[in-house]
């Protein structure tokens, strides 16, 4: 499905420490999300390369999870959207991933058995492992929000 003017991916650089991205819930926009996370972290010079990569991957997993699970096929485009907010505050970056679809229950996902290669189950594990704080909230009016927090690690 081509991107149309009715269903854009939008980035708002609100300030040096606040960026908002709104995308249709489609995997092809993951690259844009990654680029924005990288750009945001690069502008925060104390954020090291490893932390930047880990945050990019954690956010990718959170957004991909929403894209895959939040919306049933056939829901109209104006509903099938994901909003990502990136905030820098003191010594940490906070990323919120919001959707208005079906909420996700992290407790329902079994932890992967790391002694066996498996196809599924690494997404949530990676999210948890790569950031310092992870929260899932479901609210009838506000929608579902995944909040990822990554502190700066001074070398």
């Amino acid at each position: 499905m081509p991107i149309s003017v009715d269903d854009p991916a939008e980035v708002s650089v609100v300030s040096d420490s606040l960026i908002r991205v709104a995308i249709p819930a489609e995997e092809r926009h993951l690259a844009l999300i990654g680029a924005v996370v990288r750009h945001f972290c690069e502008s925060l010079t104390v954020f090291g390369e490893d932390d930047r990569y880990n945050l990019e991957l954690a956010v990718d997993e959170a957004v991909a999870n929403v894209i895959e699970h939040a919306y049933a096929a056939g829901m109209p485009a104006e509903i099938r959207r994901v909003e990502i907010t990136l905030k820098a505050d003191g010594d940490r970056v906070t990323v919120e991933v919001r959707d208005w679809g079906k909420s996700f229950s992290p407790e329902a996902v079994p932890a992967p058995d790391l002694d066996q290669a498996q196809e599924h189950g690494y997404g949530l594990f990676l999210m948890r492992s790569l950031v310092d704080g992870l929260e899932f909230r479901a609210d009838a009016t506000e929608g579902n929000t995944v909040t990822l927090v990554k502190g700066y690690h001074h070398a």
Partner: protein, 112 residues
Amino acid sequence: METTRQERNDVVTLALAGRLDAFHAPELREALAAELDDARTRLVVDLEDVSFVDSSGIAALVRAMKAARQKGGDVRLCGLQAPVRIIFELTRLDKAFEILPDAATAEASFDS
């Protein structure tokens, strides 16, 4: 994501370039499934030009590796960039996969 296919000494190497994420993983999954359907069971995935792998990319690799091993073959990996290598270590997939430094070594590893 670009995929370049080479066949040498009965080993097929798929060299990928770009992001192996949830958008691109299905392409890789289909490419590997097509090789296995064609009885090409000795496969190498060269990740030298892949800067980013997420859990969908991992799933595609694991799926094909298990299917190849069931047929007496394997999917071996090479050229992992440092951050990608770290993710494989975090998930302990560095123990599940044969990971070689480069394509030539990976292809040769099927001889032993």
